[in-house]
């Protein structure tokens, strides 16, 4: 599903470069639930942004769903993200003016579904995250965990090939975190959803199929 070869990403100026990724080669298979772990500043988020087409690598090869992403124009990237990728971030950042069902409908509207289809599929997605009874709530009427679940519903409503999550539980208490992690596991097991999740909770390594460890922008094969 995802394959990288010597992926690098350098920030900053030529005189003062920050080598966030220094050549990462990985392979993530369809249906895998992969964790990306490592110390703070090790390049986890940076790697996720490259895999999720939210940023452009400095060098290296990135193949997603058999497509060489280097050849994508900006417009094609947008469209590819819309149709094939889903994201859950640390901040839920739901538009305050939208109800849960409207927020989840948005990606469907963007691919051109009519309002009836949007409604049906958004409702299904919200039911999948156990928010079937919060369809018409505005974001400030929901708890943090519930908002994050709306964000997850928004991420999966287009049935993406890969779901990316960057520390989705960082702002949540442990109880809500468990709900989210269990939700991911359920999506992975029941629907075969491919998931790539960045986490710095050590116990999360037991929840995922496999962990990609990072250290200073490189794969860290010492960790177990």
């Amino acid at each position: 599903m995802i394959k990288t070869e010597k992926l690098t990403r350098t920030y900053g100026t030529e005189e003062l470069p920050v080598l966030a990724l220094r050549g990462v080669s990985i392979h993530i298979k369809k249906g895998e639930f992969v964790g990306i772990m490592g110390r703070s500043g090790s390049g986890k988020s940076t790697l996720l942004h490259q895999l999720g087409l939210l940023d452009t690598p400095t060098s290296g090869k990135l193949i997603i769903d058999k497509k060489n992403t280097k050849e994508f124009s900006n417009k094609e990237k947008s469209l590819f993200r819309l149709k094939n990728l889903g994201y859950v971030f640390q901040e839920y950042a739901l538009l305050p003016e939208l109800t849960s069902i409207e927020a989840v409908s948005l990606p469907l509207m963007m691919i051109g579904l009519n309002s009836n289809e949007c409604k049906i599929r958004a409702t299904q997605a919200l039911e999948a995250v156990e928010l079937g009874d919060r369809l018409n709530h505005l974001s400030y009427e929901l708890s943090g965990g519930e908002q994050q679940r709306v964000a997850i519903a928004r991420a999966i409503v287009n049935t993406p090939k890969i779901l990316f999550a960057d520390e989705p539980c960082a702002n949540l208490d442990s109880e809500s975190s468990d709900v989210i992690i269990n939700l991911f596991k359920k999506l992975n097991k029941k629907l075969g959803q491919t998931i790539v999740m960045v986490s710095h909770e050590p116990e999360d390594k037991n929840e995922v199929d496999r962990v990609i460890w990072l250290k200073d922008g490189l794969l860290d094969n010492q960790q177990k």
């Binding site: 942004h49 999720g52 939210l54 940023d55 417009k75 947008s78 469209l79 590819f80 993200r81 819309l82 149709k83 994201y87 971030f89 901040e91 950042a93 739901l94 538009l95 305050p96 003016e97 939208l98 409207e102 948005l106 990606p107 509207m109 963007m110 051109g112 505005l138 928004r154």
Partner: protein
């Protein structure tokens, strides 16, 4: 599939995408407006309404002033068409038959002929030659009945009465000759601040030396200072003084359609008025055009300030909106929304504020200010001024406000939407 067909399908597809983007942008705009804070929405629309009202009011007031000046010029000086003697001649000849022919033309309401002559006025207050006041003014003649069809002097009598056909030693004075009343030129007038009274006597010396004493029969006030510095005697009286008959210095013609003067003038030419000068009223109102032009500068300036204020208002609202939603916008972009869709959603909001502002402003203008001023017109020295709302002005000002709003909304919306996804979500 042939290449042509493929290109065609691509075009259809991209048109559909554009349409869909517009739909999504509209959806976002509607939700952001309708679910925003009601008070700030109300205040925004109020500001936009007041700005538009301001612009539209200034335009309507200035048009009203021009309208007042124009109708005064028409009603007291030039009517719609003015006929003057041929080059190098003092008078128009055969006036009676000319007027008769003109009055029978289609579209003519009436015509009136005037003799006009410079004269000297003398007012001997105590009738002892000790305290006399002298001044020069033009005296015109009129046939009181035919004059009524063309001008408004009969409706502008301040004191006393209008002239009668057979009056001989009676005179009608403008308020700026009599003084008193509401005269603007008390010191130049004969009667000073107290003004001349009905029944008092003045002496007029004609250019040919003839002197004649007149009793003041009436005093008029048209609010047109060019007309109010004039005086009238009857046609018979003037013909005797000047020792002429059946002639005139000018003939004024009032028509049914003020916009059709060119055609009427053609008609006049075709019935044999060939040598005389014939001009529409607009030829004589150069001063009004000058005043209008200087008012235009004020209008542009005030309109510009109004548009600037509305632009800043929209800019601030959209700017605060997008700055507070950097993360949300970043995530919309991450999901796959293109920046033009986000920008359009904010432009639609700006458009919405502008349209409601225009609506609110027009509502106040048409249903509150205009009816109010119709009952209580502004009493300017140039006359009563009503609000004259011109559709042309409303359209131009509306478009200007919409354009200003859209530009002001575009700048912050574009500035934020063009940032990269990571910048927006993790912000630097």
């Amino acid at each position: 599939m042939t290449k042509d067909k493929k290109g065609f399908l691509q075009k259809i597809q991209s048109a559909q995408t554009t349409l869909n983007d517009l739909k999504v942008a509209t959806f976002l705009a509607i939700k952001q407006v309708t679910r925003s804070n009601k008070w700030s929405l109300f205040l925004t629309i109020s500001i936009m309404s007041l700005v538009f009202l301001n612009i539209a009011f200034i335009a309507a007031l200035m048009s009203g002033m021009v309208e007042t000046m124009n109708s005064q010029a028409i009603d007291t000086q030039f009517s719609h068409i003015k006929i003057e003697p041929p080059e190098n001649e003092m008078f128009i000849k055969n006036v009676k038959s000319l007027k008769n022919k003109i009055n029978h033309l289609n579209g003519v309401i009436g015509s009136t002929a005037h003799y006009k002559t410079y004269t000297q006025f003398t007012y001997d207050k105590r009738k002892d030659g000790q305290d006399t006041k002298i001044g020069s003014w033009i005296v015109s003649s009129m046939s009181p009945e035919e004059e009524k069809k063309v001008s408004i002097f009969h409706n502008s009598i301040l004191a006393g009465e209008y002239l009668n056909k057979n009056d001989r030693d009676k005179i009608l004075l403008g308020k700026d000759i009599s003084g008193g009343y509401t005269s603007n030129f008390i010191h130049e007038s004969l009667g000073g601040s107290s003004g001349l009274k009905i029944g008092e006597k003045i002496t007029i010396t004609y250019p040919n030396g003839i002197k004649r004493e007149y009793t003041i029969k009436g005093i008029f006030d048209t609010k047109n200072l060019f007309a109010d510095a004039g005086a009238f005697v009857t046609e018979k009286e003037m013909e005797d003084m000047l020792q002429v008959s059946n002639q005139a210095t000018e003939i004024l013609v009032k028509t049914k359609n003020i916009n059709n003067t060119a055609k009427y003038i053609q008609d006049f030419r075709s019935i044999g008025i060939t040598k005389e000068k014939i001009n529409p009223w607009t030829e004589y109102t150069g001063i009004i055009t000058d005043i209008t032009e200087s008012m235009l500068m004020i209008k542009i300036l005030l309109t510009g300030i109004g548009l600037f204020v509305s632009g800043i208002t929209i800019f601030i609202i959209i700017f605060i909106g997008v700055i507070n939603k950097r993360k949300e916008i970043g995530i919309l972009k991450a999901i796959g929304m293109e920046k033009h869709t986000i920008v359009i959603s904010y432009l639609l909001q700006a458009l919405f504020y502008a349209l409601l502002g225009i609506g609110g402003g027009l509502f106040i203008l048409y249903f509150i200010l205009s009816p109010y001023f119709a009952i209580h017109p502004l009493d300017f020295p140039i006359g009563l001024v009503y609000l004259e709302i011109l559709t042309k002005d409303v359209i131009i000002n509306s478009i200007a406000l919409i354009v200003a709003s859209i530009i002001s909304g575009f700048i912050p919306a574009w500035g934020v939407s063009k940032k990269s996804i990571l910048d927006l979500i993790w912000g630097v």
